[in-house]
């Protein structure tokens, strides 16, 4: 099929289709999909003609992730981006299940900027909680004995060396 490719077609060919685990299809620009290191590698080796299955990510999560990637591929001013990121995270952290899935998906797709943003938000969520709340909420088994726990609580960590 040796036809002349017009500029328009070239532009059109830069679109790529991603398919979520629940078979939802998303058509996005190549530069948006490239934000994911994993998808970028897949596109580099397999091309963008056929749809790329993202089997481990559900439709609602993939949609949210692509929304992030699209915003971040525009090259807007830092201040605008920071504000947008904050709103994006505020929305995400309301639903812990969604937040957890988003975290794993961004990690799996290797979108480092998003992983870091989520990590900062997550650390912010943790810092207000008590150790007991953390154990309960995240199902962490306390494998310290009572003795050890008391000992830890009565010794100063490096952050609190007396002045």
């Amino acid at each position: 099929m040796a036809t002349i490719i017009t500029k328009e077609q070239q532009e059109k060919e830069k679109m790529v289709t991603l398919v979520s685990s629940d078979s939802e299809k998303f058509v996005v620009e190549q530069k948006v999909a490239e934000k994911s290191h994993v998808i970028k590698m897949v596109m580099n080796c397999c091309g963008i003609e056929s749809p790329i299955p993202v089997r481990r990510v559900k439709g609602d999560i993939l949609k949210s992730i692509l929304e992030y990637c699209e915003k971040h591929s525009k090259g807007e001013a830092q201040e605008v981006m920071e504000k947008w990121d904050k709103e994006y995270m505020d929305k995400a952290e309301k639903d812990l299940v969604f937040f957890h899935d988003l975290m794993l998906a961004s990690h799996f797709l290797h979108i480092q900027e998003l992983v870091d943003l989520i990590a900062v938000t997550f650390a912010g969520m943790l810092k207000m909680k008590s150790p007991e709340e953390i154990r309960q909420k995240f199902n962490i088994n306390n494998d310290l004995t009572k003795e050890q726990e008391e000992h830890i609580m009565t010794t100063f960590g490096w952050a609190f060396q007396p002045i």
């Binding site: 794993l104 870091d116 990590a119 650390a123 008590s130 154990r135 995240f138 962490i140 494998d143 002045i163």
Partner: protein
């Protein structure tokens, strides 16, 4: 006393159940003294971490003089530990936990063993951060108690604005701290302190000390070639330059030298061409600027010299620059700023093209909170001023291009001040130097 537990680890719950997480789990960094890697299946019995409760003092992992724990809980590394946060691959959980503010570490050490081990020591914390690629700014403030003269370092986390300490600097517990030269190599998380003045003897030494964030300890380095105090210093291209200052017998020095932090060797460079003790210095434009500053009764214009490492030569500082250099300086975005001592603590910026200083628009330094003596440092577009009692004011600098004349761009700057809360325990502390490090 040794306690052993047997403990069954359930199958690692995988949210995405896949090779990726498994791959990551096998690369979990547990500690620096890792045992040979065992291959583990998904579910199996493993020998649990060994807890060793010992009554002997901990071999100081945090420096020469740090307070040792009466009891040390030592953890033997073992694979098959429960994840940091169930349902998250360990590297992802680490990325989150290594961002916890320092002030929360104490309470989170009791969550479980692995959290305890991660947050127990600073060297572990900062080494892990480096491995994961997390880097943020920390302000190291060198201060002394104005009554006891005891010197100490305090560290302000510039992300969460909480304070913590580092091990005591070896050698000089009570000294006149102003004679020290404190130099940061920010990207490596390294702080170098050289020269000092023993308060009893009144003689400067050529001692050089290095503090590394990732190791959380001080090391004594090779001495300077010439003992000096109150000298100029600056980092250019990763090398530490020192010049002038007072000699052991209180004479002003002409000599200068350079330290290569990689091999710890000092080398003499061309002398300044005049004997001078420092008022202030700055590394700017790959050159070292040194000025003696105005001195009472302001009869003579201050002298100043500029060193260029490329030519290994000194030249005189321009008149405009040395006459207007009326306070502590800080370099921000390639521009030289001073907090002017003689002009109501206003901030001025130097314009090299016109050899003049311009006032930075905005309010002056909030004097009610920040009183002299000051120390100044900068990071990004912010400058940090530390005053008596370690009160901190953050100046947010905004840069605007205002006009283009004769092919040269002129900038105008404005500043907004913000104050940081400081613990009341610091009220007797006087700052001597502040340096920014990244780790």
């Amino acid at each position: 006393m040794l306690l052993f537990f047997w403990w069954l680890i359930g199958a690692y719950k995988k949210s995405f159940g896949g090779e990726i997480e498994k791959g990551i789990m096998q690369h979990v960094r547990i500690s620096s003294y890792q045992s040979p890697v065992h291959k583990l299946g998904d579910s199996q019995m493993t020998l649990s971490p060994k807890f060793r409760l010992t009554a002997t003092p901990a071999t100081s992992s945090s420096g020469l003089f740090s307070s040792s724990l009466p009891l040390e809980i030592e953890m033997e590394p073992s694979l098959g530990l429960q994840p940091f946060i169930p349902g998250l691959p360990d590297d992802l959980a680490l990325n989150c936990l290594l961002r916890l503010p320092v002030s929360t570490h104490q309470k989170f050490r009791v969550v479980c063993r692995r959290w305890h081990d991660l947050l127990r020591t600073k060297d572990r914390f900062f080494t892990e951060r480096k491995l994961v690629g997390i880097c943020s700014a920390w302000m190291f403030v060198f201060a002394f108690n104005r009554f006891t003269r005891k010197i100490q370092w305090h560290v302000l986390d510039l992300t969460h604005f909480s304070w913590h300490t580092i091990p005591i600097m070896p050698g000089c517990k009570h000294a006149g701290p102003n004679g020290f030269g404190c130099i940061a190599i920010p990207q490596d998380g390294i702080l170098i302190v050289c020269g000092s003045m023993m308060s009893d003897l009144g003689c400067p030494l050529h001692v050089v000390l290095k503090y590394e964030m990732q190791k959380n300890r001080w090391t004594v380095m090779r001495q300077m070639l010439v003992p000096r105090s109150f000298f100029a210093s600056g980092v250019i291209d990763g090398k530490v330059y020192v010049a002038g200052g007072y000699s052991t017998d209180q004479f002003e020095l002409n000599s200068a030298e350079v330290l290569n932090p990689a091999d710890g060797k000092w080398q003499q460079i061309t002398s300044m061409g005049m004997n001078m003790a420092m008022y202030d210095s700055a590394a700017l434009d790959e050159r070292l600027f040194v000025t003696e500053g105005w001195a009472w009764p302001f009869l003579f214009s201050p002298r100043g010299q500029v060193y260029d490492p490329k030519t290994n030569a000194w030249e005189s500082m321009t008149v405009g620059m040395r006459e207007g250099w009326t306070g502590l300086s800080v370099v921000l975005d390639g521009h030289l700023f001073v907090i002017s001592e003689h002009e109501d603590m206003r901030v001025k910026v130097y314009d090299m093209k016109t050899d003049s200083w311009d006032i930075v628009e905005g309010s002056p330094l909030p004097k009610r909170m920040i009183s002299k003596p000051l120390s100044v440092s900068s990071y990004g577009s912010r400058l940090f001023v530390v005053g008596q009692g370690l009160h901190v004011a953050v100046g947010h600098i905004e840069k605007k291009s205002c006009c283009v004349l004769d092919d040269r761009k002129n900038w105008s700057f404005s500043i907004q001040w913000q104050q940081i809360e400081t613990p009341s325990e610091f009220s007797d502390l006087t700052p001597s130097s502040s340096q920014i490090l990244f780790a």
